[in-house]
């Protein structure tokens, strides 16, 4: 089968597909995501049609433009077993209660051994499986010709074009590619549970920094206070040494949400106080406790980052990140091909690449 094609099925004309995506037709949205994942010429044509100068996809294309908070992208991550899917189920319920159409993009790792993937998050989301206002799609981490971040980025763009008000992106926050996907979000939720204090130490370096709201789930279990102390401790350190991250903001006017010690240290370290520490919310996803607090924290974060311009900045960065992702994937493929026809010295490669880029620049 030629590269860039979708499965062993009928090809759909991109123009026809784009029109049906705009009409919000489920089958078309589903097929369009497959086209984007395959990353061939049809994907290029489709995305050109779906990334217009106006409409819901607009802010993904022209991120400098101020936009409403909706449509928005909520990233949810956390270690396996933290209750992410159950929590997302509850979030979907809240969004539906507010009459918003919701899409869930669940990203699961592809086996490095077989190339296959077991995409299992449907199991806990079946409450919404016959609701037309809810679209759930699983995505494997590998097998994207344009790179995973680009596939996820374009998927988010087309879900917006299809009229979804909220897209929730779920990942197991372990690898670099998952962190890349989270950067596509307007707001990132990190889900932690009691007893995962050691996890915090382990994931601090990668994921703690990109979370905006810390969800302490299974809050009815012993060890919840210790977990909150561990999170606050980790945040204290992170924020002390992150003076350049002023754009990273969560409004926390709730008394007790921002520990005084952290605030004082941040002030003395010269961090502008327009950048409050991330919100920490306790939930019990299985019975819905704390969900309203969580939704409030998310709304408040989004409103604040829209106000400060952080949201626009973030949307602009994600555009650049997806573009870089495409470039890296294409260059890596080319390098692999070169190696197949005989090993190439790194220095030789550098010269070849720079010459090629010069040629591209001349034709720009």
């Amino acid at each position: 089968m030629a590269e860039g094609q979708v499965g062993p099925r009928r090809r759909t004309d991109p123009a026809d597909l784009a029109a049906r995506v705009r009409a919000g037709e489920t089958r078309a949205v589903a097929r369009a995501i497959s086209v984007v994942e395959a990353g061939g010429p049809d994907a290029t044509e489709l995305m050109q049609l779906l990334a217009p100068t106006s409409g819901p996809a607009h802010d993904a294309v022209r991120p400098r433009e101020r936009s409403l908070v909706a449509p928005r992208v909520i990233g949810v991550t956390g270690p396996p077993g933290a209750g992410k899917s159950t929590l997302i189920n509850q979030l979907v319920r809240q969004e539906r209660a507010a009459e918003r159409r919701v899409a869930v993009l669940a990203v699961d790792p592809t086996s490095p051994f077989s190339g296959g993937a077991l995409l299992g998050d449907r199991i806990r989301m079946d409450l919404h499986s016959t609701d037309d206002g809810v679209f759930i799609r699983s995505m494997a981490t590998r097998g994207h010709h344009g790179g995973l971040s680009a596939a996820a980025f374009e998927t988010v763009t087309l879900l917006r074009a299809a009229g979804f008000d909220t897209t929730i992106v779920e990942t197991v926050g372990v690898g670099q590619s998952e962190v890349g996907i989270l950067s596509l979000s307007d707001v990132v939720l990190l889900v932690l549970i009691p007893g995962s204090g050691d996890d915090i130490q382990a994931i601090k370096a990668g994921v703690m920094e990109i979370a905006d709201v810390y969800v302490l789930n299974k809050a009815d279990r012993p060890g919840i206070d210790a977990l909150e102390r561990a999170v606050r401790g980790a945040l204290g350190e992170t924020y002390l040494f992150a003076a350049d991250r002023a754009h990273h903001t969560v409004p926390t006017d709730e008394p007790g949400e921002a520990p005084a010690r952290t605030g004082a240290r941040r002030e003395s370290a010269g961090v502008p106080l327009t950048s409050p520490v991330p919100a920490i919310v306790r939930t019990v996803a299985t019975d819905g406790s704390g969900l309203e607090d969580l939704v409030t924290a998310v709304e408040r974060y989004l409103a604040h980052s829209l106000e400060t311009g952080a949201l626009a900045e973030r949307r602009e960065r994600r555009f650049a990140a997806a573009a870089e992702d495409v470039a890296v994937v294409e260059i890596k493929r080319w390098v692999r091909e070169r190696h197949e026809s005989g090993a190439i010295q790194p220095s030789e490669l550098r010269t070849a690449l720079r010459n090629a880029l010069d040629t591209i620049r001349r034709h720009e």
Partner: protein, 132 residues
């Protein structure tokens, strides 16, 4: 993978015995496919919605309760109705031999009785892939 085939393993009906379904899901993943498992006790409507939203190439149905003659025709007609008629459908579980021809008549490509080797499932998928 250039040609990642997506498969939904669906568990319609009211029986909660999904060892077989989970075994098939894992075995097909190990064979290099992208597999989604629906979880137990799904309605035909829910399964068809999942198959369409996930844009799967293949739908595998596992059923042990004996309701296949009611639920499978419903699933097939919903698939046809909603534009999923290009999806390969196979079935497995406790299905009497005499019911198999009727199920093939409504468009189920193959029925795998308990103890079927996983390679038999892969062969059906690969043959279908080649024939498309």
């Amino acid at each position: 993978m250039d040609d990642a085939i997506r498969i939904l393993i669906g568990k319609p009906g009211l029986d909660g015995h999904d060892r077989g379904a989970k075994y098939i899901a894992r075995a097909l993943r190990d064979a290099g496919y992208e597999v989604i498992y629906s979880g137990i006790r799904q309605t035909p409507e829910a399964l068809v919605n999942m198959a369409l939203q996930e844009d799967v190439d293949v739908l595998g149905l596992s059923l042990l309760s004996g309701a296949h003659n009611e639920l499978f025709p419903r699933i097939m007609s919903l698939l046809n109705e909603k534009g999923g008629d290009d999806i390969l459908v196979f079935a497995g579980g406790i299905i009497p031999d005499e019911d198999i021809p009727g199920l093939k008549d409504i468009g189920i490509a193959e029925v795998f009785p308990p103890g079927s080797p996983i390679q038999a499932v892969i062969d059906v998928i690969e043959k279908w892939r080649k024939d498309r």
